[in-house]
Amino acid sequence: MTDLFSKFDPLIEQRATLLATGVRDPFSLVMQRVLSPTEAICNGKHTILLGTYNYMGMTFDADVIAAGKAAFDDFGSGTTGSRVLNGTFSPHKDCEEALKEFYDRKYAMVFSTGYQALLGPISTLAGKGDYIILDIDSHASIWDGCRMGDAEVVPFKHNDIEALEKRLKRVPEGAHKLVVLEGVYSMLGDVAPLKDMVRIAKAHGAMVLVDEAHSMGFIGEHGRGVAEDQGVIDDVDFICGTFSKSVGTVGGFCVSNHPKFEILRLVCRPYVFTAAPPPSVVASAAVSIRKLMHGGNKRAHLWENSKRLHAGLKSLGFQLGTQTPQSAIIAVIMPDLERGAMMWEALLDEGLYVNLARPPATPANMTLLRCSLCAEHSAEQVGEIITRFERAGKKAGILAA
């Protein structure tokens, strides 16, 4: 008998081998209680959270929670329908207004998840005969958008300006082009050279879509992301992002000034053929987005945290994904999956949660311990994090004892 699951055998075997070493399963952690944006009870143990992308710590903001509770009372627990049918409530429109204010754009569309906010626009905008030119290290949601559409898909080497330009030059004359970039790449936490890339893309007549999922709220003067920080936001045609990071709920969005943008609501399948997010979720998101517009102090503290952790881990002798702190993500490079899993468990035993990232999600087949800082991490917590990294690193044999 054939078994459709046989294609997963190598992965099943890899997991069995890993777990046979006695290490705890890094991909099935359960948090019993979440105490704040930076602390939870994991396996009965008080744990500092350093792998949540909860950059601005909005998940426990009193106004954000109050808005969600009020929407529960006023609109019920769910939409039970598509945005284009019965699923658009006033909180959905208000959330789109908040996004327009935040990004200073004319149009905004809210999707049920961040994944769909990339999947939808990319698969819909570029059709048969069009060209999508994208960074090879793009997020899975971008790749899946490419696969779902009919466009010719042309990747270029990560953050390589020249490689992008060469490919733009080779696209047949007259073909429509969509260049897809990210502000911050989430695996190593490195920032894209958007200033040059966006200029080159526009010079070759391409439309530009930038995913600012990991920069919203704290990079750029108004927290609009890397494109704002590098002064090219007005040349970006579409900015996509998510509510599941700095905003602190779930959902995604695309904002634009394109005069025909609104037609996407009728033609974008991941927008049409799914239920709209619950009213409580978008009501919370709207409040959070508006509060992020005035988060200057929190932003400054988040940068301090990021710089301090980067310097601390570097001086301990850990190998990091970037030479300098470029975002709120600091990736610690592990020699291999086995020792990465050991280090991950040693950290958890110390009461510190980070993300274990492994191939194929990582570039160059690396195993990473990905740390994401929060504006709500106190200076004491950051000091404690560095101490716990040192102890765990020695225990797991990553650092010399």
Binding site: Y131, E152, V153, K166, N365
Partner: protein, 89 residues
């Protein structure tokens, strides 16, 4: 040398630095099966071929190319007409 033989030789030369196992090359050598390339190696190699011949081999086209011979034919076709896939202007 004919154009095809020329192109075939250039492609074999480009394969050499990526041919870690020293597999003997022929028209029917496959990239995934015989050369055992992973997706990262494929990407680096495709970029090399694109630069050598000043063409674009999209992911869609790559999916159709399994052997050295098929790549040779694809490169010749792309060099002759970069708009081979035909876009109505």
């Amino acid at each position: 040398m004919t154009e095809r033989a020329d192109t075939y030789k250039s492609i074999c030369d480009a394969i050499t630095p990526f041919n870690k196992k020293g597999v003997a090359l022929s028209e029917t050598t496959t990239f995934a099966g015989d050369l055992e390339w992973d997706s990262l190696t494929v990407m680096d190699f495709v970029a090399e071929i694109e630069d050598t011949f000043d063409i674009i081999i999209s992911m869609n086209m790559q999916a159709e190319i399994e052997t050295v011979g098929q790549l040779t034919d694809a490169v010749i076709k792309l060099k002759a007409s970069p708009v081979a896939e035909g876009r109505e202007k």
